[in-house]
C-alpha cells in the first residue's frame, strides 16, 4: 500500500489535485503509516471499534496480521518481537475489553524498556464519555504504564501522531506508546501525504556528557583496586556489548550482569562474574559487597539486584552511566553520574583507560567462583532424579548456548538465568521488571517471527504456561516453529520455595493439579514428548530441534521439592545468601 499510495499520489499530483497526497480514510492512513515505519507484522484481535482498521489491513496487504487468542498474547508477542529484534512491536485491540486485556503486556514492556506501539479502537468521538458500548478510559488506564499515550480526535492529525508514536517508542529509553483511535476517526477521510517528513522527537536533556564527567569516571577507575562492572539491559539496548567487552579486557575488571543484562557480555568469558542479585551467583554478590568501585552501566539498581539498600556495596565508590537521568541516584547514591548513550559514553571512556586491579582481588574472585561450583547441583553425581537445573544446563550444551530463550516467571526462569550461558545480546527474553507470568509463550512467538533464523525456545513453568497456553493455537495457525519446554514441577514453584523457606512449609495455594500437557498439545495439533529421566533429555531436545515446520513441545517432569539457590532473603544484605546445602541429597524436602 505504501507503494500504491505513492504511485497514486504521484498521479494525483499530475492530474492537478492539490499538493499533499490523496484522500484516504483514517484506517487507510493507519496502514500507510505502519508500512512507512517498516512494520511487517502486527499482533492483534479484532472487534467493532477497530474493524475499520482491520478492513483496511485486509485491503492493503503487505502487513501480516497475527491473530492471537487473547489481547494479552498480542501485547506480549509484540514485546517479544521488539526485544529480540530491537524494532518496534505493534499490537492492535478493540475498545473496552480488548484494550484492557492489553494492559499486562503494556506494563511488562514499560518496566523493561521495550518499544511497543499499541493501537486501540475507541468509541466514536461523538459518544466519548457517555459509557457507550465497550467504552473504557484507555488513556487513563494506560497513562501510568506507558512512555506516552494519545487519543487521535481529528483524522488530520492521525499520520503525524502515529509516526510520533513510533519515534517516541524507540527513541532514548524505549517504551510502549498507546494510540487510541475512535471509530469515527478511522472512518473519516483526509488528504494523506506519503512523503511528508517524519517527525523527530526533540531531545530535551543533554545526552552528551562533558569531558570532565568522563574524566572523573576514568580517574575513579584508575584509582580502584577492587572494581567490578555491573552491566544491564542498557548495554543491549544501546548495542554497546563490544565496548563493554573492551572495557573489561583493557582493564581486567570483572563483569557481572543483571537478569536483563544477560547477553551483554559473554558469560563464558574469564572476566565474567555471572548474574548478580537475589538469585545471582554468589561470586558476583560477594564481589559487589567487597568492591571498592562499582561501575554500573545501563542498569537501575533494582531491589532484586541490591538486596537491602542500606547495606549495599558499602565499601565502594560508584560510577553510574545511564541514558535516563532520573535513574541516577534514584536508589543508590553515586560519586560520578554520567547521562548518555552507553555506546557513545563507553567509546569515549575507553580512550586512555587504565586500571590496576589488585592481584589479590582477581584471586579472591576466582576462589569464590570455584567454591560456588562445589555446591552446584550440576556438578554433583546424578542421583536418578530430574532436576530443573540439569535440564537447562543440558539444553544449553545441546544448543551450544546459541538459542534465543524466552522464559516465563518463576524458578525455571532463575534456573535458566543461572544455567544457560548467553553470549550474544537479545538472546534471553524475560520479564524482569514486572515478573509477568504468562509472558513466555506469546513472547517466544513474537521473538521467532522477528528472528526466523534463530532457534527460539520458550522455557515455561507449569503454572505460567497455563495463563496463556491458548496461544498454542496461534503458533499452529501461523506455523511458528518455536520450541516449548515446560518445566513441570507440579507447583507454583517459586512461591512454594518461599513457603518452604519462610512460611514453615505451609504449601497453601501452590500445588497444581495439572492437565496432561501432552494431550493438550495434541489437541492443539502440536507434537510433543514427555521426559522424566535425565537420559531422555538429550533425545527429546534433538527431536525438538528437528521439528521446523511449526511448534513442538517437551514436558520435563522435574523434582517438585527444589529450591533456587543462592537466595538473598528479603531484608538481608546481598552477601547474606542462603546457599545450597553442600550435597544435593540433603536438599530441603528431599530424602532418599
Amino acid at each position: 500500500m505504501a507503494n500504491e499510495s505513492t504511485r497514486v499520489s504521484d498521479s494525483a499530483r499530475a492530474a492537478g489535485q492539490p499538493e499533499g497526497g490523496r484522500e484516504l480514510t483514517g484506517a487507510e492512513i493507519v496502514c500507510a503509516c505502519l508500512q512507512r515505519e517498516g512494520v511487517d507484522v502486527v499482533f492483534g484481535y479484532p472487534g467493532g471499534a477497530i474493524l475499520p482498521t482491520y478492513d483496511a489491513l485486509c485491503r492493503s496487504g503487505g502487513i501480516h496480521h497475527v491473530l492471537t487468542r487473547h489481547e494479552q498474547g498480542a501485547s506480549h508477542m509484540a514485546d517479544g518481537y521488539a526485544r529480540s529484534s530491537g524494532r518496534v512491536g505493534v499490537a492492535i485491540a478493540t475498545s473496552g475489553p480488548g484494550a484492557t486485556n492489553l494492559v499486562t503486556g503494556i506494563a511488562t514492556a514499560m518496566m523493561d524498556s521495550s518499544p511497543l506501539v499499541c493501537l486501540t479502537g475507541q468509541v466514536s468521538t461523538t459518544v466519548l464519555g457517555s459509557d457507550a458500548f465497550q467504552e473504557a478510559d484507555v488513556l487513563g488506564i494506560t497513562m501510568p504504564i506507558t512512555k506516552h499515550n494519545v487519543m487521535v480526535t481529528r483524522v488530520e492529525d492521525l499520520a503525524e501522531i502515529l509516526h510520533e508514536a513510533f519515534a517516541i517508542a524507540r527513541s532514548g529509553r524505549p517504551g510502549p506508546v498507546v494510540v487510541d483511535l475512535p471509530k469515527d476517526v478511522q472512518l473519516a477521510r483526509t488528504l494523506y501525504d506519503p512523503d511528508r517528513p517524519l517527525p523527530v522527537v526533540p531531545v530535551k536533556t543533554s545526552m552528551t556528557p562533558l569531558d570532565a564527567e568522563i574524566e572523573a569516571a576514568r580517574n575513579l577507575i584508575a584509582e580502584a583496586r577492587r572494581p567490578v562492572i555491573l552491566a544491564g539491559n542498557g548495554i543491549n539496548i544501546s548495542g554497546a556489548s563490544e565496548q563493554l567487552r573492551r572495557l573489561a579486557e583493557d582493564t581486567g575488571i570483572p563483569v557481572s550482569l543483571t537478569l536483563l543484562g544477560k547477553g551483554a557480555f559473554p558469560e563464558d568469558h574469564p572476566l565474567s562474574l555471572g548474574m548478580m542479585g537475589m538469585h545471582g551467583d554468589a561470586a558476583a554478590n560477594l564481589a559487589i559487597q567487597a568492591a571498592d568501585l562499582i561501575i554500573a552501566l545501563g542498569m537501575r539498581f533494582d531491589d532484586r539486584v541490591t538486596g537491602t539498600l542500606s547495606t549495599y556495596a558499602p565499601k565502594s565508590k560508584k560510577i553510574h552511566v545511564d541514558l535516563d537521568r532520573s535513574e541516577i541516584g534514584k536508589n543508590v547514591a553515586v560519586d560520578v553520574g554520567v547521562v548518555g548513550d552507553l555506546k557513545a559514553v563507553l567509546t569515549r571512556l575507553l580512550v586512555g583507560i587504565a586500571a590496576t586491579v589488585d592481584e589479590g582481588w582477581t584471586a579472591q574472585i576466582r576462589e569464590w567462583k570455584d567454591h560456588s561450583k562445589t555446591l552446584d547441583v550440576v556438578h554433583q553425581p546424578c542421583d536418578g532424579r530430574l532436576w530443573a537445573a540439569r535440564v537447562i544446563r543440558d539444553l544449553c550444551e545441546l544448543t551450544d548456548g546459541e538459542a534465543v530463550t524466552v522464559t516465563d516467571v518463576g524458578q525455571h526462569q532463575m534456573f535458566e538465568a543461572q544455567y544457560y550461558t548467553h553470549r550474544r545480546p537479545r538472546t534471553l527474553i524475560t520479564s524482569g521488571g514486572l515478573g509477568t507470568m504468562g509472558f513466555g509463550l506469546p513472547a517466544a512467538l513474537g521473538a521467532k517471527l522477528a528472528q526466523p533464523h534463530e532457534e527460539v525456545w520458550a522455557i515455561v513453568g507449569d503454572g505460567g504456561f497455563q495463563m496463556t497456553l491458548a496461544e498454542l493455537a496461534t503458533a499452529v495457525q501461523e506455523q511458528i516453529a518455536v520450541k516449548i519446554a515446560i518445566i513441570n514441577n507440579g507447583y507454583l514453584g517459586m512461591v512454594r520455595q518461599w513457603q518452604e523457606l519462610f512460611y514453615e512449609e505451609r504449601y497453601y495455594a501452590t500445588p497444581l493439579a495439572n492437565p496432561d500437557f501432552c494431550k493438550i498439545a495434541e489437541a492443539y495439533g502440536v507434537p510433543s514428548v514427555r521426559v522424566s529421566q535425565r537420559r531422555d533429555v538429550a533425545p527429546a531436545v534433538a527431536w525438538c530441534r528437528s521439528v521446523n515446520d511449526g511448534p513442538c513441545l517437551v514436558e520435563f517432569v522435574v523434582e517438585s521439592h527444589d529450591v533456587v539457590y543462592p537466595m538473598v532473603p528479603a531484608g538481608a544484605a546481598l552477601d547474606e545468601m542462603i546457599r545450597r546445602p553442600a550435597r544435593a541429597s540433603t536438599m530441603a524436602g528431599v530424602s532418599r
Binding site: L139, G140, M143, P144, K147, H148, I168, V201, P202, V203, K204, T205, S206, P209, L210, A212, E213, A216, D324, R325, S326, I328, G329, K330, N331, V332, A333, V334, D335, V336, G337, V338, V339
Partner: protein, 204 residues
C-alpha cells in the same frame, strides 16, 4: 557532574519545600499526566497551580514539593520525561517572586470592621465585597504572609478560604531556562536547540 540526590546531604537537601516551574504543551490531559506521575512516584506535592503563559500553545505550572533540593531535582528529572513537558526548572535559591492569592470570607460584627480594615491596610489586602453579615478580603503575597494574615483574621469569623497557591517567576533579565538547573527547551528556543543541567551556562 551529575548530583547524587541520595548521598549524605545536609538537611535542606532532603527536607523543606522547593519551587519548580514547568512549561507544558497546552493540550487536554496534560495536567492529568503530570499528577499521575507525581502520585505514582510518591513525590511529596505540596501545591500545584496551572495557567496560561506568554505563549498560547504552552501552559505554565508552578509546583512546590517537599524533599528539599534533592526532591525537587528528582521531580524535575521525571517530569521532563513526559513528552508534553517541554521545560522544567527547580528554582532552588535563585532570586524569584513567589505569589499566592487568597480570597477570605469572614463574618465580622459591625464593631469589628475598623479592626479588620486596619489589618487589611497593614497587610496591603483589599476588601472586595461587603454584604450583610459577610466580607470578602483579597490578598496577594508570599505564602507565609498569607498564613499570618489568615490567622489574624480567623477571630473575625473565618467562613471560607480560597487560595490560588503559589505562582513564581525568577527575577532578572536572564529569566526562565537560563539557570544551571533547567532541563528542557526554553520558550525562546526552537526544538532543535536544547539546554541541560550539564552544559555550562555563560549567562549564570
Amino acid at each position: 557532574m551529575t548530583p547524587a540526590p541520595n548521598a549524605e546531604m545536609s538537611g535542606s537537601q532532603t527536607s523543606g519545600s522547593q519551587t519548580l516551574i514547568a512549561l507544558v504543551e497546552n493540550r487536554p490531559g496534560v495536567l492529568n499526566r503530570v499528577t499521575t506521575l507525581l502520585r505514582r512516584r510518591h513525590f511529596d506535592l505540596l501545591t500545584l497551580s496551572m495557567g496560561r503563559s506568554e505563549d498560547p500553545d504552552r501552559s505554565r505550572l508552578t509546583l512546590t514539593v517537599g524533599g528539599g533540593s534533592a526532591g525537587a531535582r528528582r521531580v524535575a528529572d521525571h517530569l521532563i520525561k513526559l513528552v508534553e513537558v517541554l521545560h522544567v526548572e527547580p528554582l532552588f535559591d535563585q532570586p524569584a517572586v513567589r505569589r499566592d492569592l487568597a480570597l477570605i470570607k469572614i463574618r465580622p460584627d459591625a464593631a469589628e470592621l475598623p479592626a479588620v480594615n486596619a489589618l487589611c491596610s497593614a497587610f496591603r489586602a483589599r476588601i472586595v465585597d461587603v454584604s450583610p453579615g459577610s466580607t470578602i478580603v483579597e490578598i496577594t503575597g508570599e505564602q507565609s504572609k498569607i498564613e499570618r494574615f489568615v490567622a489574624l483574621l480567623t477571630p473575625y469569623g473565618l467562613a471560607e478560604l480560597a487560595r490560588s497557591e503559589c505562582v513564581a517567576m525568577c527575577r532578572g533579565a536572564s529569566g526562565f531556562g537560563a539557570s544551571d538547573h533547567s532541563v528542557g527547551q526554553t520558550t525562546s528556543q526552537t526544538t532543535s536547540q536544547t539546554t541541560s543541567s550539564t552544559s555550562p551556562n555563560p549567562t549564570s
